[in-house]
């Protein structure tokens, strides 16, 4: 029975309180459950490689390394310096390959093309290949995430 001056009946009030608290109770389990189902990405902050594995590279060639669970590519430029990419296509995450005769990176999934510096030049990729910083420290190569200059 609803009185004229009240917004809702006592029953509706009780039902509202019950439903509201029940909803809050259940919702409070949503956050931990989602956290469980979405573990943080396991990308490393840096990768340390022995320089001996890479010093015999020819200029203009590319060698693979592991960037966490993703493939990485270390490229020796013509002038002898090193460049590192995350060898994952920026279109839909397929792994790319380096074609040394064409001096281009190619993604077989949808015919994506990148030039020798990883810049996207053909096909669907919207962005260049992700670059990583390479630093030589003694007998080691330290590869880190590229920071914004």
């Amino acid at each position: 029975m609803k009185l004229k001056h009240s917004f809702f009946t006592r029953r509706q009030f009780l039902n509202g309180l019950l439903g509201g608290w029940a909803g809050a109770f259940l919702a409070s389990f949503l956050y931990p459950a989602l956290k469980f189902c979405f573990p943080p990405t396991r990308e490393p902050d840096q990768v340390v490689l022995p320089f001996s594995d890479f010093e015999d590279m020819e200029p203009g060639s590319v060698r693979n390394f592991s960037w966490g669970t993703k493939p990485g590519m270390l490229k020796k430029r013509a002038d002898g310096s090193y460049q590192a990419f995350v060898a994952v296509c920026t279109h839909l995450d397929c792994n790319v390959v380096y074609l040394p005769d064409k001096k281009k990176f190619f993604c077989a999934c949808h015919d994506g093309w990148y030039d020798e510096n990883g810049v996207n030049i053909g096909g669907p990729p919207p962005n260049p290949l992700r670059q990583l910083s390479v630093k030589r420290e003694g007998e080691e190569l330290i590869i880190t995430k590229k920071s914004v200059e």
Binding site: F36, C37, P40
Partner: protein, 353 residues
């Protein structure tokens, strides 16, 4: 608006007939009504097992190399993984505890009397499936304790003449416990047993709805009409109170007393000391222990296992055996329920000393 949606759904799904039935279903109220809550408590814990089981299966790797490491990862790397695992472990114990309580209350109240024999029998199947789920789940972390417990547990059927050896081989996937045992147990634990449990719960719940709630003999014999409550909404709200309290207790125990993990099992290592099965198998474990190696030239273990099997068969056919529940025979059978309680508790406590 609510009536609009309700009638829209009802036109397509016909749910009003189920809703109508639930409103008409009555639950008797008497001094033993408290035991009526045990069934839905089991369902609550089973639902929790299914959900936490789904989540654990996201990260668990059921292989010899990956099992222990994946559980370690769940406990250390996956956000709040240790809580999900802890809830799964505790809820298993709660579910099995309530299965025993439920079984004993039905036994003592003789709710299995005609025409409810099949409800009891489907329940015995559910007991076996629940215990099997506990047993198979226990191996999955693949540490030394669970490996040894599985070796012992799967060895027990072997003492039964002729067929025992084949049961052991079937459970183990070979002569010994290996990586194949692990994958087999995983298949049982996440696929075969849950499907069987769902199927038998469906039968069990259908029979309860069809045959209605039973009354204990002491209440039935009184000629006065028993007070009844509608299942929906009166009894269901009471059940929700019970669920909430049980859930709170479960979460508190799970968060403050999480299980640990030993290092990965070594198939060649000797059995660890202090080897014990989970608490719900302790009374069987102790019973097997006290049997002598030989009784009149027959292997002691064989007799023990056969006795246990016979007890299970008797339990299954209890409604048929107890065909005169109101008479002396019926009282003796009730007495045996108490004997079983005392036996199980004594054996459990003894095994812990």
């Amino acid at each position: 608006m609510k009536t609009g949606i309700r009638s829209w759904l009802d036109e397509r799904l016909g749910i009003s007939s189920i809703a109508g039935f639930l409103r008409k279903k009555m639950v008797p109220q008497h001094r033993h009504s408290l035991w009526y809550y045990t069934g839905s408590a089991i369902l609550l814990f089973f639902a929790i097992q299914v959900v936490t089981g789904f989540m654990l299966a996201f990260y668990y790797k059921p292989t010899l190399e990956g099992a222990n490491q994946s559980v370690a990862r769940i406990m250390t790397e996956v956000p709040l993984g240790w809580i999900i695992r802890s809830i799964h472990s505790w809820s298993a114990s709660f579910m099995i505890a309530f299965v025993f309580i439920h079984l004993l209350s039905i036994w003592i109240a003789k709710s299995y009397r005609r025409p409810r024999e099949f409800t009891w029998m489907s329940g015995v199947f559910l007991l076996v499936f629940t215990l099997a789920s506990g047993f198979t789940g226990y191996l999955l972390p693949w540490d030394d304790l669970s490996l040894s417990a599985t070796k012992v547990g799967t060895d027990i059927p072997r003492s039964v003449p002729f067929v025992g050896v084949w049961v052991t081989k079937f459970l183990r996937g070979g002569e010994d416990v290996t990586g194949d045992t692990l994958t087999r147990f995983f298949s049982f634990h996440v696929s075969i047993l849950p499907l069987l449990i769902f199927a038998f719960i469906a039968v069990h719940v259908y029979l309860i709805q069809k045959l209605g709630m039973s009354l204990p003999l002491s209440v039935e014999s009184k000629k006065e009409k028993v007070k009844e409550l509608p299942f929906w909404p009166n009894f269901i709200y009471r059940e929700m109170v019970v669920w909430l309290l049980l859930f709170g207790i479960l979460m508190t125990l799970a968060i403050f007393f999480p299980p640990s993990l030993e290092k990965t099992a070594d198939l060649m290592a000797p059995a660890p000391e202090g080897l014990r099965p989970e608490w719900y198998f302790l009374f069987l474990f102790q019973t097997l222990k006290i049997f002598p190696p030989k009784i009149l030239f027959i292997n002691g273990d064989t007799i023990a296992v056969l006795l246990m099997f016979a007890a299970a068969i008797l339990l299954f056919f209890l409604p048929i055996i107890d065909n005169k529940p109101a008479e002396k025979k019926g009282k003796v059978i009730t007495f045996f329920a108490y004997v079983f309680i005392v036996f199980a508790v004594t054996m459990t406590v003894w095994s812990l000393l």
